[in-house]
């Protein structure tokens, strides 16, 4: 079975541009989360989607948006890119979304975004 797949793996963008990152969860997983990991830091939560609805949002500006499609894949969009948006963007999926999530997430390999 394929794991969580993310595309592209690497991306270079110029300040002010827009970027779209894509994620396909494990087959049957209905929850997708996005995390940003700046070099040398732990991942920071950006968004969580379940059954195509936003269920959680981290402390990120409105330039960041996301959506989940009927097939449970997801896109993360970032507008007006800043140098500080350079990071590894990780997508994670899980089967369901319940309080006290009693199992771990499966993460993709990430998209390395460099803003110049």
């Amino acid at each position: 079975d394929a794991g969580v797949t993310q595309s592209p793996t690497h991306l270079i963008k110029t300040r002010g541009q827009h970027v779209t990152l894509r994620c396909s969860p494990i087959s049957g997983h209905k929850s997708v989360s996005w995390y940003q990991q700046v070099l040398g830091q732990g991942p920071q939560f950006i968004f969580q989607y379940y059954e195509k609805e936003e269920r959680g949002r981290g402390n990120f500006p409105d330039r960041f948006s996301a959506r989940q499609f009927p097939n449970y894949s997801s896109e993360l969009n970032v507008n007006a890119l800043l140098l500080g948006d350079s990071a590894l963007y990780l997508c994670a999926s899980s089967l369901v979304l319940v309080q006290g999530l009693n199992y771990g997430y499966t993460f993709g390999s990430g998209t390395r975004l460099t803003v110049v």
Partner: protein, 112 residues
């Protein structure tokens, strides 16, 4: 903001030795999870311990949780060069929908 703080930030040991990493957190949790990350790529889930558990084992891994001290430890026994990676603790905070709050990680280097 980061919830957890791993200690130490970096750890270098010889193959065969044990590696212990610690994690402290701030709020009440549903569970605490440990992840491994190789060379800045994706995270691999290692083990999850619930708030009502005190110790859990998985192969060469042993995790403890002390909710009164808001701390956890990860022990890797008989370490191997392949264990070289960054290790993160992540908390599923009580009242959250399952989004994780990660610490800054411990960078483990196991020398052959």
């Amino acid at each position: 903001s980061q919830q957890g703080e791993e200690d130490p930030q970096a750890l270098s040991i010889q193959e065969g030795e044990n590696a212990t990493m610690n994690c402290s957190y701030k709020t009440s949790i549903n569970n605490l999870q440990w992840y491994r990350q190789n060379s800045g790529r994706g995270l691999v889930h290692l083990i999850l311990i619930r708030s009502n558990e005190r110790e859990k084992h998985s192969g060469r891994l042993r995790v403890t949780l002390d909710t009164s001290k808001k701390s956890s430890s990860l022990l890797i026994t008989a370490s191997r060069a392949a264990d070289t990676a960054s290790y993160f603790c992540a908390t599923d905070a009580f009242g959250s929908q399952g989004n994780l709050i990660f610490g800054k990680g411990t960078k483990l280097s196991v020398k052959p």
